[in-house]
Symmetry: C3
Subunit: 394 residues, 3 copies
């Protein structure tokens, strides 16, 4: 390569260029041309057009998500109720993590006292009092062991007595009857603001430039084909789009993701940079999701009591990701350069063939490699016509 | 290029070097030198000094944010109150998502019963009972339809009756009178711990090495110039710095981002790696932010009742991002190599000029390209003085 | 380099190859071979085997985290209680941000009224009434100034009177006596679903294919050696693994990170892509963590009162990060190419030595550089046997 050649100042501006040997070997020549074309096609077709490697990319998107649920459902708790978002959504403030109660097991009027632990908890099983260490909490249980082992009538093994909220939570799986039927029609509004700090580019998924936009938001409902950019989603649709059945998921609960993908080519104008919504199930069919809430109150005599709800429901996680791309000179050069370097591999290959697989190989080798005998003094002169008054240069 | 040349073992240590033709063409020589300098300047100036491409970078920062609000405000609800952080901040536990109540619409003493839905809700409008399907929830509404259409006196169209919390929420926009005046002076303390796992580097935005640091934290308030590293922010300042007016935003609410940018050159020492705070509005001027909270209680006769608050306020999102850079040999080589390859493009250009645009081009071409005639036998010999006993090599 | 040579169509398939000069200088030859081997070793050993630069990587992992705490503790508040997750975990819904109450300062029976501000608050200190501006909130305080400065008996300076919840919160540090002793044995279950969108690869840290998996989950407890993939963690272990003492941290609270690292080589099969759990302290030993909760109620005469809890506890942040790698042709080429280019630097070095540091340098220079005198007409002919009827080519 020519880039590093230095000369002593006098000949700084002599131009030095590589010497080539031209062979009229059509076979190798053709082969080499084909190779050149292949590499060029790869560079232009794949690297540039397909993979857009001439662009720099930022795949760390800064994101802010606001969410809001709407809709009401009738709930048959001990005191029959109507639930709005203020009741069935956790947390209330509308983050990117959402839990919508769709079912529950209610255990009313628990009071502090002693009773037997749930039999389903391994740590609470016992055969004698010694198995229930006093003051020790039951692992994954509901109370502190009192030291007694409550035997079942005539049975040899029993369950530890605990100090805690009694009676303990009801057994068994959640009941289809308590499901919030109307939950399927709840609507979720998502406001997502994103920023690619590397390119100092920001955008929101909600367009609110004029009153028409407001009207649109009041009425629209997300649909992949008809309303791909409407940020309002029906809960039932979200679940069903993941291939799960809503009414089933509503019983035991489930975990689902709303993915917002921002793939933006910033060499085009902003209007081409839009969110793409997709939906996935964040767990196997078998896994539900639940947690517990307690409502405390005082009974007639002012004794503290509580109602415990084990709530099952839909966990929604709004997952925002994306990539912004913009032309970048460094990336362009790196990719061109590396592909060009590839070419040398080609000439290497062709040389091998030329110098070892052709019947005139010997002759070609002599031409390509000019040997200098160790003690040969004149040979260089032979090829340097200007004789003695010649000048040297590197 | 020289890197791949192989020989048969005997001559493994012969040194083979490219042969050059030296022309004394000053024009092309000068041109080439200029090109060389340009490329060098680009490599050193832009790629290395400006873009620091010799460093590997990690732009996925792991972050943990803790926040804490301080300050109280007087609130004129039905029972006049003083609100502290335990009342006006959601969620309580201090995440990177914060909502500070600055205004509200209170609807006291709601009880379960039947009443007419809010007239502003499209789905609730009706002209006859048939329009109000029994047991159906009003979309984006407050209750379950009872099947009755309540006509306005003498009017032809009316509003569906619903079963829900009655009376329904008060109409209209939030009132300036209810705004928490003192909210502007609330202070937010942010503790941000970050980690660049790729370089196994961690740092916090809060420095607590000695008692002085504690005293500083007790008294300081963030200011871009005076206290750029003080992690305590005045709510009013945050909003105003985004170009919005706090007192206006306080009425309808708004969404704002506190961006913490960590740009760390890990080739320098840690003390150079500091957070840079900036503030942006995460929505247009017109969009507010609100959600609803219900406070349940029992009235004199023990009948369940609730007070519904539609709360408006400032949503703060703490957005942490950053890039860590550190010297990396692979990146360095890739960048140098690609730029060097560029040079070849230069010699290509110069050759074109030399071989086709100079008046002595023909002569230069003959010198650069040594042609071998198809059936020429002696020619190689001519240039190989050691005659027959010559050795071959690739 | 050979890649850019063009000819006029007639000789499109002539093969042109670089001309070399072969010197029998063993020293330089050996030197060059050594250099070649070094570079090759670097390319294969470091770049490919060690750094796997032939793979493209995605280091922005999309993640969804669900958490659930289990365990109970006895708490000695004014009305002695048993606390379950529904009481001591914030927020309830199980996000990646968790706060577990381990201690608290209780201030019971606060009522709205006038009293003196806490003396520890700088802004509340005063010497005369004028220091306490009426209607102004105390910065970082508990109420609104009434305009009075309450002097301590005989003292010259005093504390502003405030309107707020009185009496104000108890002074001082949290007490070891109130710590939730059983907290150390609370267990945390983490469900983490991750996705590398670039490679469209998803996985969960919880395996639930068959009933055995369920049984395993019911009984296992994370242990680096025995159960590295069990997603259930003992709170005490988490804290202790970070090098902090749990019982100490429980008093003032602390902030800890559970880091889940997904490093996946997608060229291998999925079973090799597993989470790696590690634990760090997100703050210095001295910093605790706390926030306040208020429980409102009505006293006998129906006057609103509240119990204020300043809760201290363990903040857990689940931090998910990772990198997925997969073979990519572009990366491979870029890295090979750049290293090959390196070789030229080697031949440069060797040429310098050969042409300037050998005693026969002059002779080598003449061989490598074929000078063309400005006005020399015959010289090219000398080396072009086919004389006049020669053809030109570039």
């Amino acid at each position: 390569m020519a880039w590093w050649r230095i000369r002593h100042p006098l000949f700084l501006f002599d131009y030095t260029t590589v010497k080539y040997v031209v062979t009229q070997n059509r076979k190798v020549g053709l082969l080499y041309r084909i190779f050149q074309l292949t590499v060029m096609a790869y560079l232009i077709g794949w690297v540039f057009i397909e993979k857009k490697q001439y662009q720099a990319k930022d795949d760390t998107v800064e994101s802010s998500v606001l969410t809001k649920f709407k809709g009401v459902a009738s709930v048959n708790t001990t005191d029959f109720k109507i639930w709005g978002p203020e009741d069935y959504v956790y947390p209330k403030q509308g983050e990117d993590f959402l839990f919508i109660i769709t079912n529950f097991i209610e255990t009313p009027n628990q009071e502090l006292g002693n009773c037997s632990e749930k039999s389903s908890i391994p740590d609470a099983n016992c055969t004698k009092d010694e198995d229930c260490i006093k003051e020790e909490a039951v692992r994954a249980g509901n109370g502190i062991k009192t030291g007694l082992c409550l035997k079942t009538a005539g049975g040899s093994d029993g369950i530890c007595e605990i100090k805690g909220w009694c009676p303990t939570e009801k057994h068994g799986k959640p009941d289809k009857a308590t499901v919030l039927r109307q939950a399927e029609n709840f609507t979720l509004y998502i406001r997502n603001f994103i920023r690619f700090s590397k390119f100092n580019f920001s955008k929101s998924n909600v367009k609110l430039n004029n009153s028409d936009d407001y009207l649109y938001l009041k009425s629209c409902l997300y649909d992949q084909i008809v309303h791909p950019y409407c940020p309002i989603f029906r809960l039932g649709d979200i679940v069903n789009k993941t291939g799960r059945n809503f009414q089933e998921s509503a019983i035991m609960g489930g975990s689902f993701g709303i993915m917002i993908d921002w793939s933006c080519d910033l060499d085009k104008e902003d209007s081409h940079c839009n969110p793409h919504y997709s939906f996935i199930s964040l767990g196997s069919n078998t896994t539900g999701f639940n947690f517990r809430i307690a409502e405390y109150s005082n009974d007639a005599e002012g004794k503290k009591q509580r109602t415990l709800y084990k709530v099952f429901g839909i966990h929604l996680q709004i997952i925002v990701f994306g990539t912004a791309r913009k032309f970048n000179i460094i990336n362009t050069i790196i990719n061109i350069a590396s592909v060009l370097t590839l070419m040398t591999a080609g000439s290497f290959l062709c040389d091998i063939i030329l110098l070892y697989m052709m019947k005139k190989s010997t002759f070609y080798r002599d031409s390509k490699f000019e040997r200098i005998a160790k003690n040969d003094k004149e040979s260089p002169a032979k090829k340097m016509p200007e004789g003695p008054k010649r000048k040297f240069s590197l």
